[in-house]
């Protein structure tokens, strides 16, 4: 199913910014919020994993319901997971389209990757503290 991805600050993501290797940060940054009707439609429940795909990449996240979101709109806090699927195109302004990325979402059994592993996919070497 097609969705429009919006990203932004959340207090939970903000709370764990200085512990980015922690499971709490992972949970805060890799949760995708979705209208409950949409969840029914793609047959996922709270905590289930989904694969989110855009033109530039794909990433696995876990779902959480949010009735405040209109249908076909999803929200992820800013961070490495949402940025895995946001394009670096800035339209000559320096600023990527963090607010409007078209994505498709489907259920998956794959795990949500830890931050270090995700950066490993980008060519980095995970550092475990």
């Amino acid at each position: 199913m097609k969705f429009l991805l919006n990203t932004g600050r959340t207090i939970r993501q903000g709370s764990f910014v200085e512990r980015k290797n922690s499971p709490s940060y992972q949970t805060a940054a890799a949760t995708i919020f979705m209208n409950p009707v949409d969840m029914l439609e793609i047959m996922v429940e709270e905590g289930d994993h989904v694969r989110v795909r855009s033109d530039v990449g794909e990433v696995v996240m876990q779902v959480s319901p949010d009735v405040g979101l209109p249908r076909w709109r999803v929200f992820v806090s800013l961070g490495p997971y949402s940025n895995h699927i946001v394009s670096a195109e800035t339209h000559g302004t320096g600023m990527p389209d963090f607010k409007v990325t078209p994505v498709s979402i489907e259920p998956t059994d794959d795990p949500v990757l830890p931050v270090g592993t995700l950066m490993g996919l980008c060519g980095g070497v995970p550092y475990e503290d």
Partner: protein
Amino acid sequence: MKIEDVVCSFCGCLCDDLVVEVEGTRVISVENGCTLASEKFLGDHRLKTPIRRDGNSWTKISYDEAIAETAEILLDADRPLLYGWSGTFGEAQSVGVHLAEILGAVIDNTSTVCHGPSILAIQEVGHPGCTLGQVKNRADVVVYWGANPVDAHPRHMSRYTTYCDGFFRKDAFKDRKVIVVDVRDTESSILADEFVKVNPGGDYAVLSALRAIVRGKRGIIPPEVEGVSREQLFRVADICMSAKFGAVFFGVGLTMAPGKNKNIRNAIEFTEELSRHTKFTISPMRGHWNVYGSNEVFTWISGYPYAVDFARGIAFYNPGETTSVDILKRGECDACLVVASDPGAHFPKECAEHLARIPTVQIDPHVNVTTHLSRIQIPVAVAGIDAEGTAYRMDGVPIRTRKLFQGQYPDDFEVLEKIYAIVKEAKG
């Protein structure tokens, strides 16, 4: 030991009324702060020593080694990028600009992915603004547009707007009308007297419509503009025009939406239009602690607030070209120094991939997402906790942070000065 009037170093509010209790080199309690402040002060997850990536593993190295290697990496580069700066204090930012100047580097701060578009808009039409106390004491209408203070600036409403009494607003909660404009319901929109829900990417059209209404052109407005009814647009315009003192606060919901700087420009011109009828001001909700300070410091030294390219010796500025995301996306830079920020977390994947490809050095107290992409990381004291210096609040008010205890880490200023000294020696 209890320390009063402590300045928080998390967001652009720079709340300076925290009471922090310290035992030795640990913070044990925080009063008055929001959740973000508490986490910041109580957090105890520092990187202990400088580290270096050797192949697929990490080794601990000394500060001297780390600093010497960093200088070498920067000196070897043909197009180094110095990015970050908002998490540190002005004195360190100043060394950073001079380092960029001597290296012929590009220096950019986190405005690039925050309020960079606001700066571009201000450069087109200016900025009718004020300090936060003006709003606190006077405002009877407050508009949050594309901003969610409850999550991003948790005390903004209680220190400056909705819940804060002022000299001319003795009962703020009753005396002020709050309008929230956003694409989704948020914790902040629940608190609004008037919630305007706009289609994603529709802000520009809504602002144009509001401007036309304020100019007396109601007749042209169609029944609906980007999900907002004509009746609501009229109502919002009327509330604004009948305000005695109105204040617009806008967030990244506006700067990041399609149209970017043009959205902000439209919001500023809306404010200017209102200024012909009554008193109105507009202010960006600057996010990352001292990001506004980095704009200030960059400006008085180089003339430009961010995205400054010294490759040709003189300062050149052109966001979209000299901004970090663009430079990384195009694979231009051949070395990167990251200071007090986390592009690994906050830049799109293509940028992270380039950071991993080139020698990236990070100066930061904590392990963060960029750590995994770096070659070297140098841990430093945390600004506002064990390091002190100047920071600028979102409205331009400069405040000096306190050093709560003497820790074991050098601060950003000391580390950067050492790198600068080596570079200066080499450059003559």
